[in-house]
Amino acid sequence: MRVAPVLRRTLAFALLWWVLVEGSSVSWGIGLASVGLATFASLRLWPPAHWRISYAGVAAFAGWFLLESAKGAVQVAALAFQRRPDLAPRIIEISLALPAGAATVLIVNVLNLLPGTMCTDVEGKILRVHVLDGRLPVVEEVRAAEARIARMLGVTQ
């Protein structure tokens, strides 16, 4: 087993512990045990993969995601308070360009939080998406999200 992913995860869980105990230092006994167990469980459940995640990509993605999810919330709030909510829902099918696995999981999760889209089904590469307003250019937005995820994970579409 390679050492780098083990170290990285141990460090991440140690950071989580530090945050939870708010920096208290009297707690390292239970802390070390739980961090060790968590690292072990994480390696069992999620064996290290050979991805090349670009950290700049993650930062750019996070910024874009924050802005978009805020837009989504504003859109829903505006609709909710309209006298007659102006909804034009429909279900569209999109063929995914991303590879199966983590990238697909991520796009489904992200689409559920982005403005106006909610995945209802994935069949192979076909994604069925419930759209709140079918008059908006949803397919283009899904494609844009796909491209960003591909860039962040360093996978080819």
Binding site: L16, W18, V19, L20, V21, E22, G23, S69, A70, G72, A73, V74, Q75, V76, A77, L79, A80, F81, P85, L87, A88, P89, R90, I91, V108, N109, V110, N112, L113, P115, G116, M118, C119, T120, D121, R128, H130, L132, G134
Partner: protein, 105 residues
């Protein structure tokens, strides 16, 4: 940051957060079917929660305490995106067809 400014920003964030929760709940009650209601809950409540934890984190006594509060947000996001998908998929599997505008039917 001086305490008064902290309290001011905290209050502003909490009010914004509460507003989005209200919007999500109003949407839940007013939208026509399970799919559109899921939109209301996942989107509005997530931003609402984001502002709530931000409002509380501003008041936190230490960096770690603030981070602990902010950590709640991504965890809830992941859970609600997954649960939203599971409910939508279950609804599809049960054959619940989505609500359409009269002119789209």
């Amino acid at each position: 940051m001086p305490d008064s400014a902290r309290e001011f920003f905290s209050a502003v964030f909490l009010v914004i957060g509460a507003f989005f929760y209200l919007a999500g709940t109003v949407g839940l009650l007013r939208f026509p079917d399970v799919y559109t209601r899921l939109h209301a809950l996942t989107k509005a409540d997530n931003l609402g929660l984001g502002f709530l934890v931000l409002g509380l984190a501003v008041q936190a006594e230490s960096l770690a305490a603030a981070l602990k509060l902010l950590l709640i947000w991504p965890l809830t996001l992941a859970a609600s995106a997954t649960v939203g998908y599971l409910i939508a998929r279950r609804a599809r599997a049960l054959g619940i067809s989505p609500w359409l505008r009269p002119e789209d039917r």
